[in-house]
Amino acid sequence: MKRLLTTQQVQRAIGRLYKAILEAMDDHRLIALIGIRTRGEILAARIVEKLRRERGDLDIHHGVLDITFYRDDLSRRRGVPLVRATEIDFDIDDAFIVLVDDVVHTGRSVRAALDALHDFGRPKIIRLAVLIDRGGRELPIAADLVGRKISAPNSQRVQVKLRETDGEEGVFLLNRF
């Protein structure tokens, strides 16, 4: 396991992502940040917290998406980790939605997340915000808002660690799965 980004570099990347999200959402009235479980959820929670503190004038909804049921590799994996509930308790019709995830790689989780959101309604706009864009897309999907770009070989996995789940912060390169 090789460290790619230090704690401070992760902090700076989150800061850039925060600014990009803030700039992207002017003029929109119904705004929602939806994090993809597990680490996208934590990033979204942190960003929502900061937005509510610094931009009290905006009314920001906050949701969590579990995409397990929508994955296209369900039948290829062995064993089932615990599925957790999706928490979206507001109407997403005509909303401006920022979908938050930690890493975008093949684009398949984002595809699954778009399908899942589609079952809840018809948002006006969906933007994709990721902490790390590591390249290697297999689907025509692009991140609109990015904390930091990294180029990593396809044979390796980029893992983001956050203190809420991992006890430390950083970005690491792992030998694949």
């Binding site: 929502v48 615990l82 079952d119």
Partner: protein, 329 residues
């Protein structure tokens, strides 16, 4: 920087995810609670919790089992269990086919195993089986490759009913461990009672079975539960009262002197409810014989969770179908 946890100031929800559990489900069949560990039962209940949310959406469907086929094989009659499984399968986007023994090849003398092999040969992924013969799903699980879900085998087990009962207890009372649960009625012939006793004991509840001696075999204590022949003696100490249906269609009233006497000694009514703990939970797997096991005011009152059990049954069966299809070893 690290001193402020994000959970404290983002409001009450959504809650941040705890560290992912290492536990992984690997079973391809659900035959009974007897073979499951406490951890597996908890995993099933936790998964069902996630599926409950799907039924609250405007589009009550997820694509988890898209392209899979679930066959419902009911060698024995059932309405609600079959409908519940059928709806659970369709909420997961699976296709369903239904087989009932009446008017089928069973009437022509085909064996159960041949019937099931023929249905499996059509390309079925999950077989939900109800059969009058105890152990029939276990036999099938050894002989076919598809996942087998036991939807009731004779007087042996009815795992999904016990799971939905425990799910409802956990939802209403917040826990299962330490609960005092009474199961009342025809314990001798009840698969619901057996699965409930097994599951509840594994999760740390205390179980007492109640009924006339003809319906409560004394050997049942080997399963780790107490026996009582007087409901009135134990009323005040119970957290949950699970009333079983008297199966008149099977036994008539041969096992006790009269329906009236049974109801007077073992039926729940307003008077008995008044002597229970205030938030005692009244359960019934249905269909109710109104005025026999329960009076209408109790069945429809605030302590009753009978309809909630039905709703939860859907989430539990979705979780079961999902887990067995993903759990292929």
């Amino acid at each position: 920087m690290a001193k402020k946890a994000s959970s404290s100031s983002t409001g009450s929800r959504p809650t941040p995810a705890p560290a992912p559990k290492p536990f992984v489900w690997t079973r391809k069949d659900l035959l009974g609670l007897d073979e499951l560990s406490a951890e597996e039962i908890r995993h099933l209940l936790d998964t069902a919790e996630s599926f409950r949310e799907v039924s609250t959406r405007s589009i009550k469907k997820v694509p988890a089992l898209r392209g899979k086929v679930v066959a419902l094989l009911f060698f024995e009659d059932s309405t609600r269990t079959r409908m519940s499984f059928e709806l659970a399968a369709s909420r997961l986007s699976a296709d369903t086919i239904v087989f009932t023994a009446k008017g089928s090849s069973v009437a022509k003398g085909e064996t159960t195993l041949d019937t099931v092999r023929n249905i499996e040969a059509m390309g079925v992924d999950v077989l939900v089986v109800r059969h009058a013969q105890p152990g029939a799903p276990h036999l099938l699980a050894r002989k076919v490759r598809a996942s087998i879900v036991n939807a009731g085998d004779g007087a042996h087990e009815h795992p999904t009913q016990a799971l939905l009962d425990m799910f409802t207890m956990r939802q209403r009372l917040g826990r299962i461990e330490g609960l005092q649960v009474a199961i009342i009625g025809d314990i001798a012939h009840s698969r619901v009672a057996r699965s409930n006793i097994i599951g509840l004991k594994k999760l740390g509840a205390e179980v007492v079975v109640v009924g006339p001696p003809t319906l409560v075999p004394s050997a049942i204590t080997a399963m780790g539960c107490r026996v009582s022949h007087s409901l009135d003696d134990i009323l005040g100490e119970l957290d949950v009262i699970n009333m079983l249906r008297i199966q008149f269609e099977r036994f008539g009233t041969n096992l006790f002197p009269s329906v009236r006497e049974y109801s007077r000694l073992f039926g729940m009514n307003a008077d008995r409810l008044g002597r229970c703990r205030k938030n005692v939970l009244i359960m019934h797997p249905g269909p109710i014989n109104r005025g026999v096991e329960l009076t209408s005011d109790v069945a429809d009152g605030p302590n009753s969770c009978i309809l909630q059990q039905v709703t939860n049954g859907l989430a539990v069966r979705m979780a079961v179908l999902y887990l067995v299809t993903q759990g292929q070893p």
